[in-house]
Symmetry: C2
């Protein structure tokens, strides 16, 4: 194990109908919030009414900043920052999935900063302070509800970059699994892929291999996500499966699975970020396209870990380590196919001629993240295997 600091102060309020408590938990942070949300869905499914009723009942006013896109964009963040400053809100209240939460984090940081909020994403400035953030999660996937990071796309520069600071942990996150019962199965699948990718990227890239506890956390989470997703596909409003999926996705990216594993990287996310920065591909869909090919590439450096994954997560057995490695990757890819998450670029209308441009875009992130083992030709090779 390697040295680390672990500190995750977010308060999680979990359970059916907990959305009604958002006012109670928001009130200690002030009288006026910026209510950040996405498209019309929360108005259609009643979540908006539940949230605003709860806020009003607790004496919390709000100004609205709806219209967050999936893969949130910088121009919309700018508008939110301006509104938050102009209206002098005390807090940001985010109601949605990872995109909404990520944009809300950027706004919370930008509202207390005199410069350009994109500075934080380019490492030109640190987030020294941010407005308190309260979240109501409607899609279990990104873990943003219990971590200190977020991702935004700058449409001008076509950069999908991330922000991170201990000041961006939500103060309180309401995890009400009933709000996810109506999430369509395609997005349920993409969410599962995203959470699994968060877990496996650290697991397969960590510098330290003597981390049996972290390994078992990851393996148990991946098994549980697969099992719960299968249950949800059989019954979309399965209370225990939706609840378990929500809690598992939270723990898939809140610092626990990577604490003590030393240096690690997110190369699958890196390549996917370019895909969804350049094309309108759902994040999880992009991840399931890239992941099997990336795993094959990464398995050459850590074959033993891939063999362990195959045995423990999928119960594979094989004559030798290499066969185990391949069996594990194949099992995961087959599961992606089963849940109808795409596994080829052609399924999202990306043609082979586009691959060099995607790879070139991804190298910007490789540079930002210091991933020297992923120069453009390596990324191109991986993408060629995803055609």
């Amino acid at each position: 194990m390697q040295p680390f600091v672990f500190n995750n102060p977010t308060k999680i309020v979990f359970g059916a109908d907990m959305v009604a408590k958002v006012g109670k938990y928001a009130a200690p942070y002030g009288k006026k919030g910026l209510l950040v949300y996405g498209k019309q869905s929360i108005k259609n499914n009643g979540v908006y009414a539940k949230v605003t009723t709860a806020l009003a009942d607790s004496g919390v006013n709000w100004v609205e900043h709806g219209g967050v896109k999936s893969n949130p964009v910088l121009s919309h963040v700018y508008a939110g920052v301006e509104l938050a400053k102009e209206q002098q809100v005390d807090m940001v209240i985010a109601v949605g999935g990872g995109s909404v939460l990520d944009e809300a984090k950027a706004i919370a940081a930008g509202a207390l900063y005199s410069g350009d909020v994109w500075d934080f994403f380019c490492d030109k400035a640190w987030v020294k302070q941010a407005l308190p953030l309260i979240t109501v999660l409607t899609l279990a996937a990104t873990g943003s509800e219990m971590n200190d990071g977020g991702v935004v796309t700058n449409e001008q520069t076509q950069q999908k970059f991330n922000i991170g600071s201990p000041n961006l942990f939500p103060k309180v996150s309401i995890l009400d699994p009933t709000l996810t019962y109506t999430v369509p199965l395609d997005y349920t699948a993409y969410s599962a892929v995203d959470a699994i990718s968060h877990l496996l990227e650290g697991y397969f890239t960590s510098a330290d291999t003597a981390t049996p506890l972290q390994d078992r956390f990851v393996e148990g989470l991946v098994q549980t996500i697969i099992e719960s997703t299968d249950q949800i596909f059989a019954q979309p409003d399965h209370p225990d499966a939706r609840a378990t999926m929500m809690w598992a996705a939270t723990w898939a990216l809140n610092g626990l699975s990577t604490a003590g594993i030393g240096a690690y990287a997110f190369p699958n996310h890196m390549i996917e970020h370019s895909l969804s920065a350049l094309y309108d591909v759902a994040h999880g869909a992009g991840l399931s396209i890239v992941m099997p090919a990336w795993m094959s590439y990464a398995s050459e450096r850590h074959p033993a870990k891939f063999a362990q994954f195959a045995q423990r997560v999928f119960g594979c057995s094989a004559a030798n380590e290499q066969q185990l490695v391949e069996a594990g990757i194949a099992a995961l890819k087959e599961w992606f196919i089963k849940i109808k998450s795409p596994v080829a670029l052609s399924q999202v209308d990306v043609v082979p001629e586009d691959i060099p441009a995607i790879a070139a875009n991804a190298t910007m992130l490789a540079q930002k993240w210091g991933l020297k083992e992923y120069p453009a030709p390596v990324i191109e090779d991986i993408l060629q295997c995803c055609r």
Copy 2:
């Protein structure tokens, strides 16, 4: 899954030689601490020198409150509270294992309370505030370094009772595994038993059985604790095994394994508390004596969970569920014997004639915790199986 609130704000600073950073992390909380520790061991093994040097280097002064016993006693807590008040310390700095940390929590609460600190243990008062607590862990076992509880024995009334409040989470806990390299093997074994007991009591008593994620967390933790303890027995200063054991014991009782499982209980701890309140038995030793018999009793209510435990943790197979249940309990008991943790009252010189008195004592705790399914005759029956 059941509704819950999860909020664990303790900052963990983990790694070899992190003890040298205690001053840096204590300084933001004030200029003067009450330094709580146990017997002479930290002076003999150099930990005292490392801690006090680090505090002095960061401008933190301290007054000393040494001499904490294992199974800490109320009279010593009173002395600590008096000293903390008299010296007007800004924080409590605990250096030791679970006993030292638990006593430090009681002192931190008592120092800001005008009444009798025992009120908190008898549920006559709530801990509304407490001095900030900084801990340096020297024995991985109780999880006190990342939770909000503690246990103290009132020698007058022979009650070993617990305290709990969100205000008792340590602000910062330094987890330096090198400080545990010299822990003797008997106490290493008792620590493993304690951590396993924390995990299995929730696992086997939870009201909700549809908690696959929590189950896998527990199973992975128990497997890892067993594996690491075996490695430590082969090489007491095994860096990875000591580090893994330290981190696993922390997660065995910090709220994660029980979040969402609904009502649960600690009946094995309940019975053991009476054993160590009445006799000078190490806590972990008492637990390994009671646990197999308690498990047999508890397995009648949840046989499927015991069968799952046997299969997943020990890889048992058997012709039917009952045989699996018994195989799992037997495997754990055999492992206790292997690591030389006692499995019979006779091994700690408790004679059968004492059993009624132990059971009578335990019923006080059964009442406090509301465990109606454990009247004195049931506890006696369990203890009779531990002779």
